[in-house]
């Protein structure tokens, strides 16, 4: 049997991602911010990260070089069809379609949220079906019941803000620059997470809400600053640690409930916020307590990347799920 080699393109938001996968093994995983950084040798402005049109050709060229693969070896071309920003998605879709047409190979459409979950199949250990996946990022917060590669059910989701946004906005209130989530995580390492507590809003069933807790943080800081104007600077690590613990507990509470409800012990996390150190730590504690088998992706597969698009495309190819040259990007493409 000949090798199955796929090129995957991810342009749903800020970064241009390109990956090459051969028989299910990732050979190259390029992110534009890095390529542009190396090529121009300077600090990349925020604007460049959005500039998919300028990044896509150099990123694809670099991926071919790293993988030591020629264009005519490709079996198919895959791209992120949604969800994401329409303008960004269009760049990836047009490029992928044109390349597939030129090479006369099939095209594969990948759902970005599905790919975040399937990123768990890049390396060992791989979760067993059915498993639960908590997908957490700047734009999404959902609990997905994964029955098979392409049979997924969203059993809980945020009704307002995503948890990543709650992290970033909490950081903003503490005057930590955007995107403040990762920095808040670092500062929290030195803090006491039990020092402050915040009132939580409980949502029905397995759904989430992060808009209320954001307002609670705001009022808490405002009231404390009235008593002591230097409250934030004097207590920053403790505030960060307490806020982080509060947000993570909200996430885990529903995950525990879902695990119990569905009687599932295979539990995974995915998305940018799964890089959060406190979430990783607490999830490990839960795993011991409830005898879960947990799956936490490598850092490079947590944030947006094309390797996850490539692995999803690999399984789509195996299942014979090919796309169409006539398909348009879907900015709001839900999992079901």
């Amino acid at each position: 049997m000949s090798d199955r080699i796929l090129l995957a393109i991810e342009t749903s938001c800020d970064d241009t991602g390109v990956a090459i996968i051969k028989n299910g093994n990732i050979l190259a995983n390029v992110i534009s911010t890095q390529t542009v950084h190396e090529q121009y040798g300077g600090v990349v402005p925020e604007l460049a990260s959005r500039d998919h049109q300028r990044n896509i050709v150099p990123a694809v060229t670099q991926a071919f070089k790293l993988a030591n693969i020629e264009k005519n070896q490709l079996s198919a071309v895959a791209y992120t069809r949604g969800p994401g920003l329409l303008g960004s998605l269009l760049v990836g879709a047009s490029f992928a379609k044109a390349l597939a047409l030129g090479l006369q190979v099939p095209i594969i459409e990948v759902n970005h949220m599905e790919a975040h979950i399937l990123a768990h199949f890049i390396d060992e250990p791989r979760p067993l079906f059915p498993f639960l996946c908590l997908t957490v990022s700047g734009g999404h917060t959902q609990i997905v019941l994964v029955k098979d590669f392409f049979e997924m059910e969203v059993v809980g989701a945020t009704q307002d803000d995503a948890v990543g946004e709650a992290f970033d906005k909490a950081a903003k209130m503490l005057e930590i620059p955007y995107p403040g989530g990762p920095l808040l995580d670092k500062i929290a390492l030195a803090g006491d997470h039990t020092k402050y507590s915040f009132p939580e809003v409980d949502m029905q069933g397995l759904n989430y809400s992060f808009s209320g807790i954001k307002t609670s943080f705001l009022y808490f800081l405002r009231d404390q600053k009235k008593i002591n104007p230097d409250f934030i600077t004097e207590n920053l690590p403790d505030i960060c640690a307490s806020m982080q613990a509060c947000l993570v507990e909200i996430l885990l509470k529903k995950l525990r409930r879902a695990a119990k409800e569905f009687g599932i012990k295979e539990v995974a996390i995915a998305g940018g916020v799964s890089a959060n150190s406190w979430l990783r730590l607490k999830l490990q504690e839960e795993a011991v307590k409830y005898r879960w088998n947990i799956y936490i992706p490598a850092f490079e597969y947590c944030t947006d990347n094309a390797a996850m698009i490539a692995i999803a495309a690999h399984y789509k190819f195996v299942h014979g799920k090919f796309g169409s040259q006539k398909a348009s990007p879907l900015p709001r493409w839900s999992l079901e």
């Binding site: 938001c13 969800p83 970033d168 705001l218």
Partner: protein, 140 residues
Amino acid sequence: MELICTHISELRLVAQSIIEFNRKYSIWLFEGEMGAGKTTLIKEICNQLTVMDNVSSPTYSIVNEYVTKNNKIIYHFDFFRLKQEEEALDIGVEEYFYSQNYCFIEWSSKIPSLIPPKYAKIEINLYKTNQRVIQLSQHG
């Protein structure tokens, strides 16, 4: 026009009044500090306009697109995380703004020169813990 909202139960009425008042405008700017309730208000307005999708904050995605029962499109923007106005041009805001569809915009202060001359403004001011005064004005 000025509306006062002292409890979440009054939100429905407030949203109705805003829709009625701004009927002739497609660009609506929502102003108010973080936690004022901009997204919550937009959620209720979308609900009244028969949006079927889950209305959530577009801080990360910058723009969300919703469809109503009669297939009308509504765009919901949040420019909070933009650093330069040019970034908004890159995502094609002009095409959205001049599409005649409703555009509900949060954090418009990030893109002052890109806002069309004709717009309605909804300012939410928080007084006591739960009292919000909502001021409506029309421009251009």
